[in-house]
């Protein structure tokens, strides 16, 4: 099937999974027994195969089967470190959430089947226009919940920060980089392509969810000190950015603004492939750090840039990409998304203007916070001096791992500089999924201006920017060379204490403190201090802990779980354990049914 959307996702999957696979050769070595490595590689292979199947099949039943295989295989990969209690727990949360999501998908597909009498995509697409409006709305909501669970849209993201960090790093890279994107594929395929967008509120709802996902994801990421968890939360944020593009495209579609719908979808797809690349890269780097240092806790890392220069360089490129710094790829896609918002605000009247402007502002805020987050991730992990013996004994990873990282780092740069070419390719994908002929439309980074009134005077080209940045870099290097002689190396000024060690360094928790205060209305931080000593005035030891309240877990999932368990306990009363009573239940049920169908 030469469907552009499927081809695009095929390419995305392969771009990330192949380097991850090469990386895994070095990563798994010595961590596990040969047998377990073989098992892991077979599972990985199945996982990639099932993802490829998900994006290529053209039948809803086949899609569901591939989707289930993907979910199950990824569950086994999450619990791959089966000796860790945490992995089992993470796997359980994951498998429960993902199946709850699949249940909604099954319901949505059956509803589609009921009205179109076919499971085949093409036939469904033809017949889907006859579905009554309220059924369409229900199908849309079900699909959004079903795919949203997999994508990690807030508040359905709960499994993501548990499952992704617990899997081996190359799997995290595939899960975060690619697997959650299959859900975006589902959204585009089933909502935009098959169902067709008619109502404005669909796009608006997706945009609102995108705003929430972005902000919640990045704020939690900022608070994290586990480097892989930080990356997992950042995935939630980036799914939000992708949804900005997708939701905006839906919004424009419902308003019949086809050019901008294509443009917004290009932005979304561009960010999708970008996120696949740099999140894959970052997870591989994090895995490299984890393998070398034996810990994922950033507070215990530090100074790795000297012992692991290649990992550090790759992580830096990934972090710059994800922070949307020009001229890397993240910049291009977020720039396009922002442009789409500005254009939308420009071309729509009244409150829509305000809403789209607000979305743009939220995207900008997210980007800023993301930059702060990755300054923290890179700075605490790689800069300064080692904070513990873990970080001191770290060494650079083997060749196969370096290859995986360098390959993706290279792609990060290529996708930034080659934006003009890639946009044109993506325009075909977006056009085909929206059902719009794009041959007459022109898309270019250079033609898109910051403000329509400014005309072409304020256009931006990544290549020019790259040139400027290289020149600035050269200038800096020259200045450094010329004035190097004047530099004196000396200890950090320590107020006359003279015994500074690694424990006096800036910590990840310290770095995020201002933001914890700024977002305290949402994070609800609390602290516990414990003092012990002979008297109140003479304290021998003191512990201080600060935590943030997991709002979604506490206020949504815990009550739901409590109700479930309570009702299960209640239902257990009818279960005495006696076979005779069970048989009696069956008999009574049959009698009641016979009476109910009025045969007697």
């Amino acid at each position: 099937m030469s469907d552009p959307l499927s081809l695009f996702f095929l390419a995305t999957i392969l771009i990330v999974t192949i380097p991850s696979f090469v990386y895994s050769i070095g990563y798994l070595k010595k961590e596990y027994s040969p047998k377990k490595i073989l098992l892991g590689q077979i599972l990985t292979f199945l996982f990639v195969l099932s993802m490829l199947a998900v994006v290529t099949v053209s039948n809803m039943l086949a899609f569901l089967i591939a989707w289930e295989i993907m979910s199950l295989v990824s569950y086994f990969l999450v619990v791959f470190d089966s000796e860790h209690e945490k992995s089992i727990q993470a796997g359980t949360i994951y498998v429960v959430m993902t199946h709850a999501g699949t249940a909604f998908l099954v319901a949505a597909f059956l509803l589609l089947y009921q009205h179109t009498h076919s499971f085949d995509f093409n036939l469904v697409k033809v017949a889907s226009q006859t579905i009554p409006v309220h059924t369409r709305n229900i199908i849309f909501i079900f699909l959004l919940i079903g795919f949203g669970t997999k994508a990690g849209i807030v508040p359905l993201h709960i499994w993501l920060p548990y499952a992704h960090p617990q899997a081996p790093s190359h799997i995290s890279s595939m899960m975060s980089g690619v697997m959650i994107k299959t859900a975006i594929y589902g959204l585009i395929r089933f909502i935009i392509y098959l169902l067709g967008v008619n109502d404005t509120w669909w796009g608006t709802l997706v945009l609102i969810l995108a705003i929430i996902s972005c902000l919640v994801g990045i704020i939690y990421a900022l608070m994290e000190k586990d480097i892989k968890k930080l990356l997992a939360y950042s995935s939630v944020e980036n799914i939000g950015i992708i949804l900005f593009g997708v939701g905006l495209s839906m919004y424009f579609m419902s308003k019949n603004m086809s050019y901008w719908a294509v443009f917004a979808l290009i932005a979304g797809l561009y960010h999708l492939i970008n996120h696949a690349i740099f999140k894959g890269l970052l997870f591989l780097c994090a895995g490299s750090v984890y393998k070398a240092a034996g810990t994922r806790n950033m507070e215990k890392l530090g100074g790795l840039i000297r012992t692991m220069p290649i990992t550090a360089a790759c992580f830096l490129i990934g972090a710059m990409g994800i922070s949307a710094l020009p001229p890397l790829n993240g910049f291009v896609s977020e720039w396009l998304t922002l442009q789409a918002f500005f254009m939308g605000a420009w071309h729509t009247p009244g409150t829509d203007k305000l809403f789209l402007g607000f979305c743009a502002a939220m995207l900008a805020l997210t980007s800023g916070l993301a930059a702060a987050c990755f300054v923290k991730a890179f700075g605490i992990t790689f800069l300064a001096k080692p904070r513990s013996s873990y970080a001191e004994k770290a060494i650079e990873s083997p060749v196969s791992m370096r290859f995986g990282m360098l390959f993706l780092a290279g792609l990060t740069i290529i996708f930034g500089l080659g934006a003009a070419v890639i946009i044109n390719i993506l325009s075909r994908v977006a056009g085909a999924s929206l059902g719009i002929d794009t041959s007459a439309m022109v898309f270019s980074v250079n033609n898109i201006t910051i403000h329509p009134l400014a005309g072409n005077a304020m256009s931006l080209s990544p290549l020019t920017m790259a040139l400027i940045l290289v020149l600035c870099g050269l200038l800096g290097w020259i200045i450094y060379k010329v004035y190097r002689k004047r530099a004196i190396s000396y200890n950090t000024w320590d107020c006359g204490y003279y015994r500074l060690d690694a424990r006096h360094e800036y910590t990840a928790t310290g770095f995020s403190k201002p933001l914890r205060i700024a977002f305290s209305f949402f994070l609800r931080p609390y602290r516990t201090t414990k003092k012990s000593g002979e008297s109140f005035y003479h304290i021998k030891s003191m512990t201080y802990e600060t935590h943030t309240t997991p709002v979604f877990k506490k206020y949504i999932y815990k009550p739901v779980l409590a109700i479930t368990f309570k009702s299960a306990k209640f239902m257990r009363r009818i279960q005495p354990g006696s076979i005779h009573v069970y048989l009696a239940y069956i008999a009574i049920t049959i009698f009641v049914l016979i009476i109910l169908i009025r045969k007697f």
């Binding site: 279960q575 005495p576 354990g577 006696s578 076979i579 005779h580 048989l583 008999a587 007697f600």
Partner: protein, 210 residues
């Protein structure tokens, strides 16, 4: 001839209801199966179909000889109390089964909505079904449950041949195999349960619940 077999089926079923010991139950099951065989044979003679002859032969081989023999063999092997463990005593059981017979008769008449002669065979079938279920619920041992299931199967078979003139041949054969295999499996399980818990009183398995 058909009247005789129906009468025999009823008597055998009532005998099962008042049975207190497992051997008596197995023996009554054998009688019931024999009369079922007779009823099928009569239908076969009327319809002159090879299928029905084969089915009747299978009933005789499996239900009259094979399964009862296997059950007796299992009982001898595990060597347990012969007591069935009555939850409802024989008098109440008999009264209840009379009620079942009446209900089946009404139900059958409603269902067939034609002459009383065509309604009688389904009525007996329903009665046997209900009795089988009753025995499964109101007898304690696992053996009673197995036989209860077999009785229900007999009832089902009779119902199928009375209402539909027999099921398709392959379905019939498949069911026979199912029944035979399930009896073997259940017999084996009873044996295992007896070995593990030194009794086959199903009621005492209740502590195994989740």
């Amino acid at each position: 001839m058909q009247g005789l077999s129906i009468f025999g089926l009823l008597v055998a079923t009532f005998l099962m209801v008042i049975a207190k010991r497992t051997p008596a139950l197995v023996r009554s099951f054998r009688y019931q199966s024999f009369f079922l065989f007779l009823a099928t044979l009569v239908i076969a003679l009327e319809e002159r179909q090879l299928n029905l002859y084969v089915v009747a032969g299978l009933i005789f081989a499996l239900k009259v000889i094979g399964i009862p023999y296997f059950l007796q063999y299992t009982m001898k092997k595990i060597n347990v109390r012969e007591d069935l463990g009555l939850i409802a005593n024989t008098q109440i059981s008999l009264l209840l089964s009379l009620g079942f017979a009446y209900l089946s008769w009404i139900f059958s008449k409603q269902l067939m909505s034609s002459s009383e002669t065509t309604a009688i065979l389904p009525a007996v079938a329903f009665f046997i079904l209900l009795t089988g279920m009753f025995l499964m619920i109101f007898r304690l041992t696992a053996m009673a449950q197995i036989i209860g299931l077999l009785i229900m199967e007999n009832g089902l078979f009779l119902l199928a041949s009375a209402v539909l003139g027999g099921m398709p041949f392959f379905v019939e054969i498949a069911i026979f195999f199912d029944v035979f295999v399930s009896v073997v499996i259940m017999g084996f399980f009873v044996y295992r349960i007896n070995k593990l818990f030194t009794h086959i009183d199903v009621n005492r398995l209740s502590r195994l619940r989740g």
